[in-house]
């Protein structure tokens, strides 16, 4: 929707034509409002929006978010914390699953460096956003594009003295030198791995090689490790992507099963020390014989189950093989992975809520970090009674069958409590925005 125009000139208009920083693909006369429509619209399927985990301060504007602040929630219910845009949706590549691929007849636009810098600063000052999330199609060449992105982030940090959060997507195939410069300016740097196997990558994104993706990933991982070591010695040493590295995987565009996907994610966490792997249910945008036919809505349930499983592996100490294995290569769609695991292990249950240690409690469906901590804190004062459990935040609907309290079975909650439970138990909150 175009916002109603006021009589006042758009401050961008004056500056956009003839801007020395203008992108070669930039069409003068296309105003910023339309660019936002095209380039935010093109970036909206990118799910990684976490803006936590680093801290910057000093003179200038901004303090990178400490607690992960959401500034708004869009009409699809997702948190908006960053100005999430593509620099350009022009692309010389032709990845089958991507709306921006060269052969697609979509409206195209490119920002100038100046426009992105200005938008970021003005939105940040008005407290619309916590920072910038910048990605781009491949314009002319990976290095040419990466160079533009680096100019944006360097101008923000140096000229504008912007201390807010910046997440930059490195362009696959960009030179290590540019990746390095980017890493020194941003909070988080990521390369999308896109597809869960080399075979699928070759089939669906023929111009991008596995190496184009893994090389920058390795170089970012190296930069982070080096800079951490350096900063232990000299506190003033520059921080390299202090909020770490993440990546995104498209689920459902290619035939890999959940086990394959979780193994890959686990490997990435270990090998490159990734902060997060984001899973994105494939949204059919192009009819293509190589892709599954566009029937029905995107498989959001599968995406959701993968996040839950990822959460269990990353934070709850589960091994991937405890969740999926040869016999069960795909996650159970009917119940969450923790419940599925508990049902397969009747010998571990029921757990006595007054005696179990933290790790044991965390394996009970319906008990998360918060409720486990509350159980332990309360036990220091008095033994828990059955009626104490729900107020502690335990989701009894899921937990009751796996618990005893004072040696007695725990009863399921009355039916009304089930309706309340659409608040989503803690585990379910593990969506894309921590």
């Amino acid at each position: 929707m175009l916002a109603a125009r006021s009589g006042v000139a758009n401050p961008f208009r004056r500056r956009s034509a003839g801007d020395p920083g203008a992108h070669p693909a930039y069409t003068p006369g296309v105003d910023v409002e339309r660019k936002i429509e095209v380039l935010a619209g093109a970036a909206k399927y990118d799910v990684s929006c976490a803006s936590s985990g680093s801290r910057r301060a000093g003179e200038g504007t901004g303090n990178a978010s400490v607690g992960g602040i959401c500034h708004s929630w869009s009409d699809d219910g997702r948190c908006i914390s960053l100005l999430k845009i593509l620099f350009s949706n022009h692309c010389i590549y032709d990845c089958a699953y991507c709306a921006n691929r060269a052969s697609n007849p979509v409206p195209r636009a490119s920002f100038t460096v100046d426009e992105v810098v200005r938008l970021t600063m003005e939105f940040y000052r008005r407290n619309y956003i916590e920072g910038l999330f910048l990605s781009s199609g491949v314009v002319r060449s990976p290095d040419h594009t990466m160079e533009e992105l680096v100019r944006v982030v360097e101008r923000l940090r140096v000229d504008e003295r912007f201390h807010g959060y910046i997440h930059l997507k490195a362009i696959p195939g960009a030179s290590p030198d540019l990746v390095r410069r980017a890493g020194l300016a941003v909070d988080r740097l990521s390369v999308n791995i896109e597809l869960p196997s080399e075979v699928s990558l070759r089939r669906l994104a023929p111009e991008k090689s596995k190496d184009d993706i893994l090389r920058p990933m390795a170089s970012i991982a190296g930069g982070i490790v080096e800079s951490r070591a350096e900063r232990r010695r000299h506190r003033s040493a520059p921080a390299y992507a202090p909020a770490g590295q993440s990546t995104q995987l498209i689920v459902g565009a290619s035939p890999e099963d959940d086990r394959r996907i979780l193994d890959l994610a686990h490997g990435l966490y270990r090998k490159f020390g990734l902060k997060r792997v984001y899973y994105s249910a494939y949204v059919p945008v192009n009819p293509d014989p190589l892709l599954p036919p566009p029937e029905g809505p995107p498989d959001i349930l599968r995406e959701h189950r993968l996040y839950q499983a990822d959460w269990l592996v990353r934070l709850y100490g589960f091994a991937p093989a405890e969740i999926v294995d040869d016999a069960r290569p795909n996650l159970d769609r009917a119940v969450d992975p923790k419940t599925a695991w508990a049902l397969r292990h009747p010998e571990r249950f029921p757990v006595e809520v007054n005696r179990a240690d933290r790790d044991t409690l965390l394996r009970v469906p319906g008990i998360g970090f918060k409720s486990a901590a509350r159980i332990l804190a309360t036990r220091r004062f008095a033994a828990l009674r059955a009626e104490d459990l729900a107020p502690l935040g335990i989701v009894l609907r899921r937990a009751h069958a796996f618990l005893t309290c004072g040696g007695r079975r725990v009863l399921p909650p009355p039916p009304r409590a089930v309706a309340v439970d659409d608040r989503q138990p803690e585990l379910f909150a593990a969506g894309c925005c921590p």
Binding site: V8, N10, H71, S74, R126, A377, L392
Partner: protein, 264 residues
């Protein structure tokens, strides 16, 4: 009423009076309650009015800080500025419990007083956190950034320091449009309280000419970033209750969904 009725200490609504009443209730050593004086004449004869007494208030805060720690001072102040019904009594009961059983008593989640105190505290802290994201500044012609808010709790003083750090190079004003006052920040991070007249004076020059353009660009962004096929108004409202929409710039709930901000 029988002899078991707790003795009631009545405050006048100011923080100093609430703290003084709590101090009296604790010192009384018998079943007591703390309540607002204007609660209703029916019970007024049961209560003892306690006027605002800064010395008594400071003495209590000092004792809390010494015996229970700074977290408890902040917790009690959060409860008192919650402006929720009965919050002062909850603060008194939690405090009495903490003096008896130690600062760690807030972990005793099975105790109903602890649960009520924690629940109010969570709501206040939640609103503070929420406003750090949902507050929207508008550029005034004077160059100052103006952020009107309509918070449920009296939290402007708790929100302001965050913006002092965030907008170190700017002049800004957070304006509690419900209570009339505000907090103003100057370059360098200094923050000062602003009464209604000072707020009024700041707003006299109106908005900066470029302001509507940036608001339009933000609304364009807000609409462009939503995935239409995944529309989820319930999740949106759960995360961002409609009571905060009036002061936003964007229009949640689709085109025409939100009321126009009262303040433009």
């Amino acid at each position: 009423m029988g002899a078991t009725v707790p003795q009631r200490f009545l405050h006048d609504g100011s923080t100093d009076s609430m703290l003084a009443a709590i101090a009296r209730a604790i010192a009384s050593g018998r079943p007591a309650a703390v309540a607002p004086a204007a609660e209703g004449s029916l019970f007024a004869e049961d209560g003892e009015p306690v006027p605002a007494d800064p010395a008594a208030a400071d003495a209590l805060l000092g004792r809390i800080g010494r015996d229970l720690g700074g977290d408890w001072v902040r917790r009690i102040l959060r409860l008192l500025c919650s402006e929720e019904d009965g919050a002062e009594d909850v603060a008194f009961r939690a405090l009495a419990l903490a003096f008896a059983r130690g600062a760690g008593v807030m972990g005793f989640h099975a105790n109903p007083d602890v649960r009520r105190a924690n629940a109010i505290d969570r709501r206040v802290a939640g609103e503070v956190h929420r406003l750090k994201g949902l507050l929207r500044f508008r550029r005034l012609a004077s160059g100052r950034l103006w952020g009107p808010v309509e918070p449920r709790h009296n939290v402007v003083a708790m929100v302001a320091p965050h913006f002092g750090r965030r907008l170190g190079a700017e002049r800004w004003l957070i304006h509690d449009a419900v209570r009339g006052f505000g907090a103003a920040g100057e370059p360098g991070g200094a923050v000062r309280p602003c009464d209604a007249a000072a707020v009024e004076a700041e707003l006299r020059g109106g908005l900066d000419a470029s302001e509507t353009d940036y608001q339009g660009l933000w609304r364009t962004y807000f609409d462009a970033i939503a995935i239409r096929t995944r529309s989820n108004p319930r999740a949106q409202r759960r995360a961002m209750p409609a009571r905060y929409w009036a002061c936003l710039v964007e229009r949640p709930g689709g085109p025409g969904g939100a009321p126009r901000p009262a303040s433009k």
